[in-house]
Point group: C2
Chain length 199, copies 2
């Protein structure tokens, strides 16, 4: 590996890769709404938790804080047009579930709907919020993960990423990509370096 | 899209896709250290900020809280063995920079090193921490993004994801994947649904 010359791009808010997730809520009038998010991350396993970042002006923002719940649905690459449409318009004005032909299902665990058509669902209870100037970092506790039977791995205990076929978001090119080929097993591929460095 | 039967997997802490990032710090003795993280997300653009989740027992955890700084380095797929090795051992015992042949560069902006060999670097100042039972969710303000000249997009203002060739992590299969093909432009692919639903 060479020591390439680096260009300073200034303070930027992106990294590679980012996920493409659909964040679903009920608003004050019980209307299901959904927004597309790429600024999100897993937070911990006790409790199982994740983070989604939402601007205070978004319709979803007040819904999450009001209902203290949301779901995170993982769309498949086949849903790209719907995912992108959801990022173009506001639930204040548009019924995005209807426009996409999505079926809202009321969660039995939290006060939020999920998208029946998405292969992976995480039902989240509001946990905590950190207010930044541009966004609120919303932490949610995952109460259940639901996965389409056809998208389970051979053990039946996890989603199979190649069957789910999630999208990858690239902030730089403002584009969606797919997930590429399997490259290696974790906690395994690095053993030669470990064993060599201790020899 | 059919309404597939979903299996409930219980409360799980993963989503798809997750990033693969290297988190670099100086410890109390000024030794550079690095850990692999997949539980991380972008938080906002004012200030440009991101989140990384670290267990309190990790060597990196005390380093971040002591030095109030860290860098997030995006490795390329070609660095997979090193990335995985870094996740196998602790900086308490091992000099991971040396074992990987990585060059630590002292940031001029924050009190942390970065990896010269990584194509994308984010230098972060500690912003805030949220303590969960298993992990501390560490928020950092990005002070600068540095990108290898050879990995810039044609405008020179962003990293080119295909040139960077970042890894994708899959918690379910405990595996690394690459980024797949370009699938569509954001804020564009969904216009037909938007225009149709308003016709």
């Amino acid at each position: 590996m060479s020591l390439a010359l680096k260009k300073s791009l200034g303070a930027r808010s992106l990294f590679l890769p980012e996920p493409v997730l659909l964040l679903c809520t009920y608003d004050a009038e019980d209307r299901p709404n959904v927004m597309t998010v790429a600024w999100a991350g897993v937070c911990g396993n006790e409790p199982p938790s994740l983070q989604v970042s939402v601007r205070p002006g978004r319709w979803t923002h007040q819904a999450v804080l009001l209902r203290k719940a949301f779901t995170v649905c993982v769309p498949s690459a086949a849903m790209l047009e719907a995912v992108d449409y959801i990022g173009l318009v506001s639930g204040r004005r548009d019924d995005k579930f209807k426009a996409c032909g999505f079926t809202p299902v009321k969660s039995r665990l939290v006060d939020a709907p999920y998208i029946a058509e998405c292969p992976v669902i995480m039902e989240c209870a509001f946990l905590e919020a950190v207010g930044l100037k541009s966004h609120t970092v919303i932490l949610g506790e995952v109460r259940d993960m639901k996965v389409d039977e056809s998208c389970l791995d051979p053990t039946g205990n996890f989603p199979d990423i190649t069957r789910v076929s999630p999208l990858v978001y690239d902030d730089g090119s403002v584009s969606y990509f797919g997930v590429g080929p399997f490259l290696g097993k974790a906690f395994s591929a690095g053993r030669a370096i470990r064993d060599g460095s201790r020899a």
